[in-house]
Symmetry: C2
Subunit: 255 residues, 2 copies
């Protein structure tokens, strides 16, 4: 059994208020894909945020005193820093150009996941738009899953991903930020290996492994192929959420 | 174009001294796979270590005083801790049951990547064998690449992966520890997105994204499917090495 990741062709540019499930379903039909039970759609965060109207025009932001101080320390735009603070629950580290935060969604990431590329205002290319992460990616994924299961008649998974830097290693990798149906962590405890040893590594970050695979096929100019169709995911679908993947703060040696 | 990851069927259990390229090539032929330019083989670290004779019988290890102290602090077997020290260049963090190290190979990981599962001594199931990481995974990957290209007549990539825990997030994910042909980091600098913005995220950890995907298809009882055949990797093959993926210590905010 193979794992097959196919960029969904023909996804249009997404605008505020668009119904993503409708856009995806139309693209699926145009591409002649016959969906099967267990198929998964992986979506780039960017199109979910756009559909939800998470664009912010920086000219509308008035930075706080805290934001101005942090902007001085990091060399970043004070308005962007203000949005970083608003989107975060904690600042973990700073250095020139980078602020590492605990995002309000619970995960650690750089610059609060705020994206400056591929975000145009509607007909106002001069203005400085940035894109915040979706309000509640788990909820967005759940809604899309319900809608896509209804129109397709098969049991599906939906996952929303972003691309994050990492401690210790260079290069960004795709990670899950919203889950519906795709198990976040798969517990292999109790399984024996071929020699009868209990497996020591028992908790596999299956959703993040799939997110990395899908991210590879999105590239970074993600507007072109922001939806990946997945067949052959090796674990059963079930109810799931991002929280499975978040290491509790008190158990984290690198906070 | 799709990314297709297929566990290579029929790989035998690997023993010290086995020629992995021969085992893989035989399995490829038995499976009737017609290799193409750009195909990649991803190997679980475990089979490379086994072929290289990296099994160690814990009864042969005499722990140092430092190892005994660290064993007391972490509740780990002093002999295992001794191997952790021997395989590492630095201890970063410790807590009961876990030692986070900078491995001599340069990456940060838990317990020096030493594996206690799926490692049997030859006919001595009672003895306590553990498995160290390969001596030089880049070199092992390069050698395998050369051999497999010779027998197949096509241009291939080879990557050796392990499964690591992460700061901040739960669940292990596959990561690259040895590369040959597969680009570690892909630089997208200078590319514009659809709206003409320069992309801000410019360095994609492509090898680690592929490692995660392959790991998903190996599962954790990796002896069964320790080799994944990959078709459709979206970037050109080139000379590469693990070092591309290692964040320089002085630029790491989480050391």
């Amino acid at each position: 059994m193979a794992l097959i990741l196919t960029p969904l062709p023909g996804m249009p540019s997404v605008r505020v208020g668009d119904d993503l499930s409708e856009l995806i379903w139309q693209a699926v039909q145009r591409a002649g894909i016959s969906l099967q039970d267990g198929d998964i759609f992986v979506l780039a965060q960017k199109i979910v945020s756009k559909a939800e109207g998470r664009q912010v025009n920086l000219t509308s932001i008035v930075p706080s005193e805290e934001a101005r101080q942090l902007a001085l320390a990091t060399g970043k735009d004070p308005r962007l820093v203000e949005l970083n603070l608003q989107e975060s629950s904690e600042i973990l580290r700073t250095r020139p150009g980078t602020i590492i935060v605990e995002h309000r969604l619970g995960f650690v990431c750089a610059n609060a996941g705020i994206d400056h590329s591929n975000v145009a205002g509607e007909g106002n290319a001069d203005e400085e738009y940035v894109l915040l992460l979706p309000i509640n990616p788990d909820a967005s994924a759940r809604q899309l899953r319900t809608q896509l299961e209804q129109v397709s008649g098969v049991r599906l998974g939906v996952m929303i991903i972003d691309s994050h830097g990492r401690a210790w290693r260079l290069g960004t990798v795709g990670i899950a930020i919203g889950l519906a149906g795709v198990p976040g962590v798969v517990d292999l405890r109790g399984r024996n290996d071929l020699y009868g040893y209990q497996l020591r590594i028992t908790e596999v970050g299956a959703a993040d492994e799939l997110a990395a695979a899908a991210s590879l096929m999105m590239g970074q100019a993600a507007e072109g192929t922001p939806v990946i169709h997945v067949r052959g995911f090796p674990y059963p679908l079930r109810e799931s959420s991002l929280s499975e993947l978040l290491r509790p703060k008190q158990e984290d040696l690198f906070r």
